[in-house]
């Protein structure tokens, strides 16, 4: 097997300076490493280096039976574990042609949308940190903590839930969940204007994020950007709406879009999406039917030989799973198309030419989770 390329030594001139940002840096949101070429304070070139958290997720998947992969998917995007479970079990169900009971579908949507709120909350908090506003961070974590309490009451876990099963859900919702969840939503709705007071309406915040990191529609499609980033560029594209899976076609919700594709638009899309997720959860709680939670699933899961690519709209964008089966108990090949991985690849394009401070804001607005980028 061949040895690959040689590391090029970086040559510095008197005018330009290379700064190594990361893998340990407060605003790389994990172990991302960026090689910045600086001209004074202006970033002229960004070279991302990833893989510091690579743990052969896909190779592990090939060596486990289909159900055993679920706990590993938790660790992909560890801020939205429910959604990873969702995407994976949906893929295998599609591959096998399994039907999921009504009640389980509703449970899935409720938990997934709550997870979206929790994930966007973390994003908002850490984005505030990137811009030097610490207070919003604590506010967002206060709310997220309540969501985690709800998840704990459902699954017993607070971060890595492993709560979806191929063909349904393992446990029914606890009796207290409906009232608790409704109470949380009632409590959460008035919190959104609070964030506006600290962030959205603050003139310093607006001046910091408007007009930087612009991503036009053409580049967004070219780079296959997805999720809030794509919608921030003004493309009304939400897989829950445009390629509906599970029971998302039954709910009424808006798809917020931006106009210019700058950091501000991405911020606003996520901020408005939280309110839309609240709407979806409310409708799902209202319509939640009684009944079975686990469909008819064979004891040994042996999908027919063949392959499938299936995608869901995770809080970060299009989370796709490519699973190739050879008819055995284990996936022959299992690949994750993680939204953060693809969205991050556009950073050198939208980040170059900005000040260091703006670069940090732009990186924050992409909303990466390194567990998912590096797999």
């Amino acid at each position: 097997m061949e040895q690959t390329e040689i590391i090029e030594p970086f040559q510095e001139t008197m005018e330009e300076m290379y700064v190594n940002m990361g893998p340990q840096h407060p605003s790389t949101h994990g172990v991302l490493r960026l090689m910045l070429k600086l001209d004074g304070e202006v970033v002229t070139e960004i070279t991302p280096y990833i893989g510091y958290l690579h743990r052969c997720h896909e190779k592990i998947g090939e060596n486990r039976i289909y159900t055993q992969v679920i706990p590993y998917t938790d660790r992909l995007d560890y801020l939205a574990s429910m959604y990873n479970n969702f995407g994976y079990v949906l893929t295998v169900e599609r591959l096998m042609g399994l039907q999921v009971p009504e009640r389980a579908e509703y449970m899935r949507v409720i938990l997934a949308e709550m997870q979206r709120i929790a994930s966007h909350l973390i994003w908002m908090g850490t984005f505030g940190l990137d811009l030097g506003n610490f207070t919003i961070f604590m506010y967002c974590f206060r709310e997220r903590e309540k969501i985690l309490d709800l998840f704990e009451s459902v699954s017993g876990q607070r971060l890595n839930y492993s709560f979806y099963r191929i063909g349904g859900m393992p446990l029914d919702l606890p009796d207290s969940f409906l009232t608790d969840c409704k109470a949380f939503l009632e409590w959460f709705k008035p919190r959104l204007p609070e964030y506006d007071a600290v962030m959205t309406d603050n003139i310093i915040f607006q001046k910091r994020v408007q007009g930087i990191g612009k991503l036009d529609q053409k580049a967004a499609i070219d780079y296959a950007i997805s999720g809030p980033m794509l919608r921030g560029s003004g493309i009304k594209w939400d897989l829950r709406r445009n390629d509906p899976y599970s029971i998302y076609d039954r709910f009424e919700f808006e798809v917020p879009v931006g106009s210019t594709g700058d950091v501000w638009d991405r911020y606003m899309v996520r901020r408005l999406e939280m309110a839309e997720s609240v709407k979806i959860v409310e409708q799902a709680l209202r319509d939640l039917p009684p009944g079975e939670i686990m469909g008819k699933v064979p004891k040994k899961l042996k999908p027919p030989a063949g392959d499938i690519y299936s995608r869901v709209e995770s809080p970060r964008g299009e989370l796709g799973f490519y699973v190739a089966s050879d008819g055995s108990e284990k996936p022959y090949r299992y690949k994750v198309r993680s939204p953060a991985f693809v969205n991050l690849s556009v950073l050198p394009v939208i980040g170059a030419g900005h000040l260091v401070a703006d670069m940090v804001a732009i990186l924050g607005s992409i909303d990466i989770v390194l567990g998912e980028v590096d797999r």
Binding site: I7, G51, K59, N63, I221, A224, Y309, Y322
Partner: protein, 157 residues
């Protein structure tokens, strides 16, 4: 939405490239094609011309039984409901495919990943470096015959 059907896609590609399409199949709204590697770039370019402007994913599979490596392109469109899946097989001894980065920039990191983990080389890629493993890594971990002295084989109890 939904102006073009998977059937039409396969028809159009078959008529244009003929023998380069080795097999085709329709699954729901998805048109699936196995194509020859010599014409893969042209076929993918033609698919983009049909409206597949969004490259979802480039996966790589080690088909060790037949001694091939496989690259799988998943395409979709923001205007059409149809999807496309294109598979390209290359022999393990000479795993070279023409890069599609000129068609979709999104392919850049996907192809780097396929190169890094599976060892498929993409001809014409602007920056074909390892991406997830370190620069001095030897071998391609996702190949079925990958061996590493640190790798403990998994034995189910």
């Amino acid at each position: 939405m939904g102006r073009i059907t998977p059937d039409e896609i396969i028809q159009a590609i078959m008529s244009q490239f003929g023998e380069a399409v080795k097999a085709s199949e329709i699954k729901g709204v998805e048109a699936r094609m196995d194509v020859d590697r010599g014409k893969s770039y042209e076929i993918l370019l033609a698919l983009k011309g049909m409206g597949f402007d969004y490259l979802n994913c480039v996966s790589s599979v080690d088909r060790i039984a037949s001694g091939d490596l496989e690259a799988v392109y998943n395409l979709s469109s923001l205007n059409e409901s149809a999807k496309a899946m294109v598979r390209v097989r290359v022999p393990r001894e000479d795993p070279v495919i023409r890069s599609v980065v000129p068609i979709w920039s999104a392919a850049n990191w996907h192809e780097r990943e396929a190169f890094d983990l599976m060892g498929i080389r993409f001809d014409g890629h602007p920056d074909l470096r390892r991406i997830l493993t370190s620069e001095d890594w030897v071998g391609h971990p996702l190949r079925k015959d990958y061996q590493d002295e640190r790798l403990v084989p998994y034995e189910p109890a």
